[in-house]
């Protein structure tokens, strides 16, 4: 079995994001960037499946600017075998990313594509579902447990009401929740080894995909600030305030 894993470079989840004064976006200069957290779970799951003998090859792919390669390098350091970097400058929408990924899937013919359930920068939660629509493959979104059964997968999905179990035939798309597994850290020797693993570079234009945006970002603003609250000194005072001042109980 062959697994393709999509990894995205985003602003690190610990960074307090700041909106630019001119409203054109958020500050990304000199800001720490990392792999989108659930994409680490996607890689981890692929590596575990390979370690169990059920997969032969893991290919990590990213779509993005020059530096997006770092996320592929990191995936190689935790166990992916080779990488693909599709270069595009500037912002790219989930639909365009999914079209690019489809071209790569057509060429690589993986049995499974693992991705994160949402990217923590734009919170779109679209790319995996779009890719599976374009391929007409089954989709198992928000996965918190995956079991491989021959040519099928049994997946537990996290839904608003609780948990849902579905069974899907491969080839298929799985989008991963943070609870799927505990991503490992790359060891120093593996980081060194990863430097020798190949990363194929392509341009979006070579793939014949139109990446021009269809959504214009008109402005980006800070959300309204909450007015500062107060500290209360006792539970009795808290209950009095909730009842008589806020009038919510």
């Amino acid at each position: 079995m062959k697994i393709l894993v999509a990894v995205k470079r985003v602003i690190d989840y610990n960074v307090q994001v700041r909106v630019k004064d001119d409203g054109s976006g958020v500050v990304t200069e000199n800001v720490k960037m990392s792999t989108n957290p659930p994409d680490d779970n996607a890689i981890e799951e692929a590596v575990k499946i390979k370690e169990s003998g059920k997969a032969k090859e893991i290919v990590a792919i990213t779509v993005g600017e020059e530096k997006a390669q770092e996320t592929v390098r990191k995936a190689l350091a935790v166990g992916a075998d080779r990488g693909i970097h599709v270069k595009v400058g500037g912002a790219i929408e989930p639909l365009a990313v999914s079209k690019i990924l489809k071209k790569i899937v057509d060429k690589e013919k993986p049995d499974l594509v693992f991705m994160g359930k949402q990217a923590i920068d734009d919170d779109c939660n679209q790319t995996g579902q779009m890719l599976s629509a374009l391929l007409n493959w089954p989709q198992a979104t928000f996965a918190s447990k995956i079991e491989i059964k021959d040519r099928k997968l049994e997946v537990i999905r996290e839904i608003d009401e609780g948990l849902e179990t579905i069974e899907i035939n491969t080839p298929a798309i799985v989008t991963c929740d943070l609870r799927l597994n505990e991503p490992r850290y790359a060891s120093l020797p593996n980081i060194m080894k990863a430097k020798k693993k190949p990363i194929e570079q392509l341009n979006a234009s070579d793939l014949g995909v139109d990446v021009s945006p269809k959504i214009q970002q008109l402005k980006v603003e800070e959300p309204p600030k909450r007015k500062a609250g107060i500290k209360v000194s006792s539970v009795a005072e808290l209950v009095q305030k909730l009842k008589n001042e806020a009038k919510v109980i």
Partner: protein, 317 residues
Amino acid sequence: MSVLLIAEHNNKELKAFTLNAVTAASQIDSDVHALVIGNNCAEVAQAASELPLVKKVLTVEAAYYANFIAENFAPVVTKLAGNYTHIVCSANTFGKNLMPRIAAKLDTSQVSDIIKVVSADTFVRPIYAGNAFATVKSTDEKKCVTIRPTSFDPCDSSGGSAPIESADAGEEFSLTKFVKREEIKSDRPELGTARIVISGGRGMQNGDNFKLITAIADKLNAAIGASRAAVDAGYISNDHQVGQTGKVVVPDLYIAVGISGAIQHLAGMKESKIIVAINKDGEAPIFSVADYGLEADLFEALPQFLEELNKLNTIQK
């Protein structure tokens, strides 16, 4: 212009958030049609037809629609899409799973999780866990939009009498099979719509201690929430998680107990009307969004809280 609103339901009843989605849909254009896809779901279609803002109800029924598999639903919607300028549904796990599949088939860039309709093509949506609000304009001819239900009021649920028409079912997608759903049933109000929410975090130390929270929730008729850390540690099930990767709640009162206030948690609750934080660390970031902060050990504060509530005789339900 007309808007196709995909109703969310359980084959018996409309889900509450469908009413919020209808409100958002009607702000895009007044010609709102509700689409009910399911199995033996005539009651749902009836309920949808009674929403005064809905002008027409379309129903599509087949046994393989009973479990809301996106692979089965998407072709039904794309077939009907020709008659509509906008396709709208709630940005909860149902809509998040389904809408991108429709958008990709229609070659449209979806606008996710909007909190405001500026005009028929321009919307406001939160990005970076709600740390920024982006105003975006869709240039696609057909627009696929998911809406954040808690940012719109529910529409009236009675008084309407829209015509109900049935539409053709699509083919079954045989590569995806529903196995089972484990729904956590409770008599408590739903997290997403509750007037009061009390949430516990890692500070609760274990699942058993959540009974301190349960007792207060019972008293206040509140829903119970949790931080991701509490869910990850197994104190409580995933359907309680509030935050960027959980549910977004906007109650009148949100009480955060033993929760530090990471931005990913704040993303799910900071629009609440009144926020209370109970935390023993006076520097915890949760205090920066709290209207009332109590710096105290929760194991002392929660029993006292219950006692004080018991003293009040007029708890409104």
